[in-house]
């Protein structure tokens, strides 16, 4: 039991970026995002007994993280408005950097990224996250349950829609 737990903890630590990226993309407030990250970790531990070590851990973790996040978002419904982007972004970063200008620019970039993510449906948001994370089409299909050709079609449509959305701003 302890060995399995230690193995899980090590794997989760290595791939913790997936948990936090999904939680930050689907959560609406800082508390909500923290709860979501914890829920993802908890559900991952619960499902870990069924994990096949021959298969990719990141794919497996992405599936759980996105499934938990989409269900979480659905359970919230329209009750909780998404927190303004400035606050969300500020909550990510408490560290100061030497170059304030560069920092300001990257802050703006991240804020704009969240604006794009927030405008997508829960399923398209999953597709976008996986594409941004530079996952292969095969892995994206594996995570979402789509064929590679379907992934390619959906990605093209999504990119076109994002360009249109950005053009409309």
């Amino acid at each position: 039991m302890d060995t399995r737990r230690a193995r899980f903890a090590a794997l989760l630590d290595t791939h913790r970026g997936i948990v936090f990226k999904v939680a930050n993309s689907y959560g609406r407030t800082p508390e909500d995002r923290q709860d979501l990250a914890q829920e993802i970790a908890a559900q991952s531990w619960r499902a870990f007994s069924g994990y096949d070590p021959e298969r990719s851990f990141s794919t497996w973790l992405y599936r759980i993280a996105l499934n938990v996040a989409i269900s979480h978002l659905r359970s919230l419904g329209a009750q909780t408005p998404t927190e303004p982007l400035d606050e969300r972004h500020e909550s990510h970063d408490g560290l100061a950097t030497a170059d304030d200008n560069a920092r300001h620019e990257s802050d703006q970039r991240i804020r704009a990224l969240y604006a794009v993510i927030d405008r997508q449906s829960p399923l398209d948001r999953a597709l976008l996250l996986l594409w941004l994370d530079e996952r292969s089409q095969r892995e994206i299909g594996d995570v979402l349950g789509l064929s590679e050709s379907n992934v390619a079609t959906k990605l093209n449509r999504l990119k076109r829609r994002i360009r249109e959305q950005m053009a409309g701003d």
Partner: protein, 237 residues
């Protein structure tokens, strides 16, 4: 929104804008790794043992429904087996028996759906299963609840029939026949109205009728399932 201009100051809508998104994602990734490295310890130690099993209340509810169904079957069998010579009681026993079995089957279908929920399934597969589970649960509730429009008549019918048999009186009193006739008329009327309201051209009325019967949840579950199917088929937009 002004923020997107920072993403792509030239406002040219070529792949540069998408490259900017990827650049922002990498920056965010680096920041999250740095900021959240310390939080993971707390996350592991405090929360992993406290799993929020959101489907547990549903499973408990369905188990209770199975127990309720077993009680109905036992009473129903007891009635038709013991008082098979008294026709109204025999019929009440059979109706209760059938209702109990339907209750158990409906709960079994929902429990089967719960057992197939695995969070490590591909996203669309799991979301589809969850939507189907929601739909089964709502159907199950309706199948168990709606018959009570008529089932409430069973206890008075059984009591009166047993008393009549004891006193050597034949048949049922007129008020009971009238009540049974009213229940039958109400059931037929409900079915007719449901079919009539769902004919082409009455979509708005059909939606209101369905919402009144299942509180809108059945329609939402079905719409969710339709959305998922459209997404898989590539007709999402």
């Amino acid at each position: 929104m002004t923020t997107t201009n920072t993403m792509n100051p030239t406002t040219e809508l070529d792949d540069d804008s998408l490259d900017d998104l990827k650049l922002a994602w990498k920056t965010l990734d680096a920041r999250l790794q740095r900021q959240n490295a310390l939080q993971l310890d707390a996350l592991r130690d405090r929360k992993i043992g406290r799993i929020r099993a959101s489907l547990r209340p549903l499973a408990i509810g369905q188990t209770m429904q199975i127990l309720f169904g077993i009680v109905c079957v036992l009473i129903g069998v007891g009635l038709w087996k013991t008082f098979y010579a008294i026709v109204p009681v025999l019929l009440a026993g059979i109706v209760l028996h059938v209702y109990g079995v339907a209750t158990i089957v409906a709960a079994g279908i929902v429990l089967g759906g719960i057992s197939r929920i695995d969070r490590s399934l591909p996203v669309l597969d799991l979301q589809r299963r969850l939507a189907k589970l929601r739909r089964s649960y709502i159907f199950s509730g309706m199948a168990i609840g709606l018959p009570w429009w008529g089932l409430w008549m069973l206890p008075p019918m059984v009591i009166v029939s047993l008393q009549n048999a004891k006193n050597g009186v034949d048949g049922l009193p007129m008020w009971l026949w009238m009540s049974l006739a009213l229940c039958a008329l109400a059931a037929i009327g409900t079915l007719w109205f449901h079919r009539w309201s769902h004919r082409p051209g009455r979509e708005a009325l059909a939606k209101r009728v369905d919402d009144a019967a299942a509180g809108g949840s059945l329609r939402r579950a079905q719409a969710e399932l339709n959305d998922l199917e459209r997404y898989v088929d590539g007709e999402d937009r």
